[in-house]
Each structure stands twice: as C-alpha cells, then as structure tokens.
Amino acid sequence: MTQLFRHTGWMVVRQVRNLMREPIWIAMMVIQPMLWLVLYGQLFKHVGAQGASNGTYVEFLTPGVVAMNAFFGGMWSGMAMISDLDRHVIDRFLAAPTARVAIVLSQVVRAGITAILQALILLVVALALGVRVHGGVAGWFVVFAGAALLCGVFAGFSHGIALLMRKEASMIAAANFVGMPLMFLSSILVSVALMPGWISAIARFNPVNWGAQAMRNAILEGGNWGATGIYLALLVAVAAATSLFATWCFRAYQRSI
C-alpha cells in the first residue's frame, strides 16, 4: 500500500513537472477557463440570472464553467496515456516493479490537480466580475472537491478509452462524441428549471450535472447542502468506478501486447 502511494507520488511529480515545461500548455490552462467565463457570460447575458442572488448570469455561470473545465480536462487527460504508450514509457514501467494501479491513478490525480488549479483561477476571475462564494470557506472547498471529483470521473473513463483504443484520432472522436452531449444535457449553461422535461430527466443521471449542481449550491446564496453532499458522494462513487474501469483496461492492454 505504501508502495502504491510512493509510486503514485513519483509519477504525479513526473507528470506535473513535464507539464510545467510546456509554456503553451500553461498559458492555455490559465487562459481557456477565463475565456469560457467571459464569452459565455457575454453571450447569454440577457438570459437572466436564473436564480443567481445578485441578479447576474455570471454568478450562475461560474460554477458551470468550473464544472465544464473539470470534465473536459478529465475527458482529454487520456491523451497523456497515449503519448506514454507511443513512447513505450509504459512498457518500461511495466517491466519494473511499478505498482500497476499507480500508473493509472497518477494520471487521474494529475488531471484532478489541474482541475483544482483552474477552479481557483476561475473563482478569482469571477470575484473580479462581482461574483461572491456565498457558501463561505466550505463553499470554496466544495468547488475544489467537486472540480477534482468531476475531473476524476472523466479522467478514469478517458484513460480506459485511451488504453483500449491507443490511437489519438480515435481518442479525440470518442471524447467529442461523449463530451459534447454531456455538456448540453446538464445545467452548465441553463438552469434545470428552464430545461425541457426530457433533458432535465436525463440530466438527473449525468455526472456533469451533479458536479455543476453541487458547485452551484456552494456558490449561490441559499444552496442546498444536503443535496450537495449527495452529489459529491455520487461523484466519489463514479470516480472510483471509472478508475477501476481504467485499471481493468490496463489489464486488457497488457494481454494484448
């Protein structure tokens, strides 16, 4: 067990350090969420507050954009696995006494760390735009936890797909095919109350929606803490399930080589 944690730690260090050497990646990571927030905030300005306490759409949108970033970040995180597979770094780890789970887990943790950083950036920008986190310290914590978990759910899924497909083109197609519908079948941009019945029915089972709702409860005034807890618990369960799926896909990959 301690070996698992040690190996996961070293692998996370490796991935984060490698990413820090990509200035363009850092710039994109910082700028992209701001762009979403500003663009969507402008585009849907007249849609209205949708229950936001201070009457702006931006306050409603902020948790939505945090959720969107977290889940897209997770969804695309499998690309790193494909690059490691292509460079045979994975084989090198597999022929050494590496804790197998650490290889997948470290990727999920790395994606989660990125999601938390982006959530932090978004909240700071949102504060400048007049948004307040009404849940206080606990509210901030819920946003970070929600972002990390939501990212983890899709990072597990993404790494499973990466290990099964092992091709960048297939991976991009799969991520778009699954990602875009999940975004529009959630309350990221539009509140549940304004959705057509069939979409809100589907959204109830959409992890993206759970994350967006949990974070929205934490940011808007009078959020429902009970529901927030349930959403976070559901995300923990699904993140564990998709990480297990990725680990299973890892075995499938090993059988195929």
Partner: protein, 318 residues
C-alpha cells in the same frame, strides 16, 4: 546456475503463432544473442521473459524466478531495454534515471551516486540536465541502457539495441555494451537481426526462425560446423538461366541459394570446387560474370539450418 531458462514457450496472437516452442538457456554472466530475422519471435520471447506478456504455454525462469508465478521477483532482478526507446522525452536524462531508481525502491545518496556513475558510464554527463527530447538517437539509446542498469540488475535484456542507429553510433554502442558486460558483471540477453552484431557481441547465440530455436551455440562453432567455404557465382544474364544454373550447381554441391542473378553455395574447399562449378556452368552454356569465395558467415549458418535466406526472410518479416 542458468540465469535464463526458456522451456517450450508458445504464444499466439490472433492468427499468428509468434512462439512455437522456444527453448534455450543462458548461463550466468554470459552475453547471449537471440538472432533471427524480423518477425521470427525474438521480441515476443523477450516480452515473455520480462513479464510484459504471458506465454500460452511453456515455462521460463529468469534469475531463478518463474516469470508467470512470480513476475514481481523477475521485475526486480532484470533491466529491460525495449526495442523502441522507453525514454520520457519531456524529462532530463537524470530525471529519467532517478524515477526508474525510485520505482526499484532506491533513494537518497545511494541513488544519486548510482545515477551519477551511470551518466558517466554511458557518456551523458554533459547532457544529464537537458530534456531528452533534444537527444540524438544514439544518446537516447545510451540513456535507455542506463535506465535498464540503474538498480544493478542481474540480467539485462537488450531488445534490438542498435536498430535505427547509423553505423557510427552502432559501432560506438557495441563498444559500450562490451564495456558494460565487463564492468557490471551482468548476464545479457540481446536480440538482433544483424548477423554481424551477434557475431561481434554474443558469446553464444540461438538462431530463431518462425517461433522456434533452430540451433544454439558459439558463433565460431556454428560457423566451423559448416565446414568449407561459401562460393558466390554471379551470372552474366538472368533470363531463364538462373533455374538452370541452380540445377547445375546443385548437382555438384549443397545449400544452394539463388538471389537475383547470383547463386550462393557451400563447398568443402573453394579451390577445388570453383573449377568444377565453372566447368559445369560452361558446359551448360551459362556465362559467369564473377566468382567469390568466403568463410561461412552466420548468414550461411542460417541458410543451412532453415533452408531460407536471412535477408529475404528479414525483409518479408517487416
């Protein structure tokens, strides 16, 4: 004790029988070569021995540990240098080595000292703190080998160590491997489809063809066992004459192989055989452009044991 034992290894991928009963043994401290053309099953054998894949049947032991029953015991005892580099391009040479050492449970001063030692050993001192993306093919390869050695393994696997390198880098790596074999007191299993590489580096070789070991022994012995010399006859014109010429030469000697407009044959004594061969071809009205003789190479050994030409088989296996 044998450092590596493979017994009747079989492995099938979909409709390809990659291993069809591979058996051989490598003694402790030996440099052993698995020699064969592309697609012969060398890399699959190495993947079984390094626990990356499981055999369908058969058994194998590396450093005394069973690769199927105790894979983690094997992993701790081996270094693996894959055919395709396993270098992390975005990390420096030093970081690559440190991570590999940590995976093997090394830490602190001992790890740093070992990493410095290896960087010196493979001549990467100056490039140690540069990101590996900028390394040349030869440098990446040397880093790969250092990665395989960081934990002082008992057995080192080098899968096609010089494939993709230019001749100069290849020669440099050969010197490197010879030096490592001497200084690190290792058992080395290397696979190669370069006959000269096996000849140069390996104390003993197993020739692999279509998933089986066809012969095993010291390169010198294998060549000596093929008594005589190899004669190559180049014909002046190919049209229709090649098959005829093959029949004529086959009536005089054995192991005749046709490649384009030239015939290769093995004879007990070149000086005696050449007049006979030339006379017979002349009688048959076939014109000869050139004749050369040579001591048998591993090429001839391969032809003798498999009945197939190494280069042609290698090309077909790509």
């Amino acid at each position: 004790m044998d450092a590596i034992v493979a017994e009747e290894l079989r492995k099938q991928y979909k409709d390809v029988q990659a291993l069809d009963g591979v058996s051989f043994a490598v003694r402790e401290g030996e440099v052993f070569g698995l020699l064969g053309p592309n697609g012969a099953g060398k890399s699959t054998t190495v993947r079984v021995l390094t626990t990356l894949t499981r055999p369908d049947s058969g058994r194998a032991f590396v450093a005394g540990e069973d690769v199927v029953r105790n894979p983690s015991g094997v992993r701790s005892a081996i270094g693996y240098v894959a055919q395709d580099s396993g270098v992390d391009w975005e990390a420096t040479g030093r970081e690559n080595l440190l991570l590999q050492g940590r995976i093997h449970g090394m830490a602190g001063k001992a790890l740093h000292a070992r990493v410095d030692e290896l960087l010196g050993l493979v001549g990467l001192d100056d490039a140690a703190n540069r990101v590996a993306r900028g390394y040349s093919g030869g440098m990446k390869r040397r880093l790969d080998i250092a990665i395989g050695l960081v934990h002082r393994p008992k057995v080192l696997f080098l899968d096609e160590p010089t494939t993709g390198l230019d001749p100069e880098a290849r020669a440099a790596l050969w010197v490197e491997v010879e030096r490592l074999a001497a200084t690190e007191s290792l058992t080395i299993l290397l696979t190669t489809h370069y006959l000269e590489e096996a000849d140069r580096l390996a104390e003993r070789v197993a020739i692999v063809s279509r998933g089986r070991v066809v012969v095993e022994g010291k390169p010198e012995e294998l060549k000596r066992n093929l008594q005589g010399e190899s004669v190559t006859v180049e014909l002046r014109e190919t049209n229709g004459h090649v098959e005829h010429a093959e029949r004529v030469v086959s009536s005089i000697t054995q192991d005749v192989f046709v490649d384009g407009a030239s015939l290769r044959a093995r004879v007990p004594n070149g000086a005696e055989a050449i007049p006979a061969i030339l006379g017979a071809l002349d009688d048959a009205g076939i014109e000869v452009a050139a004749v050369t003789t040579a001591r048998p190479s591993l090429d001839d050994v391969y032809l003798h044991y498999t009945g197939r030409d190494f280069a042609a088989e290698d090309e077909a296996g790509k």
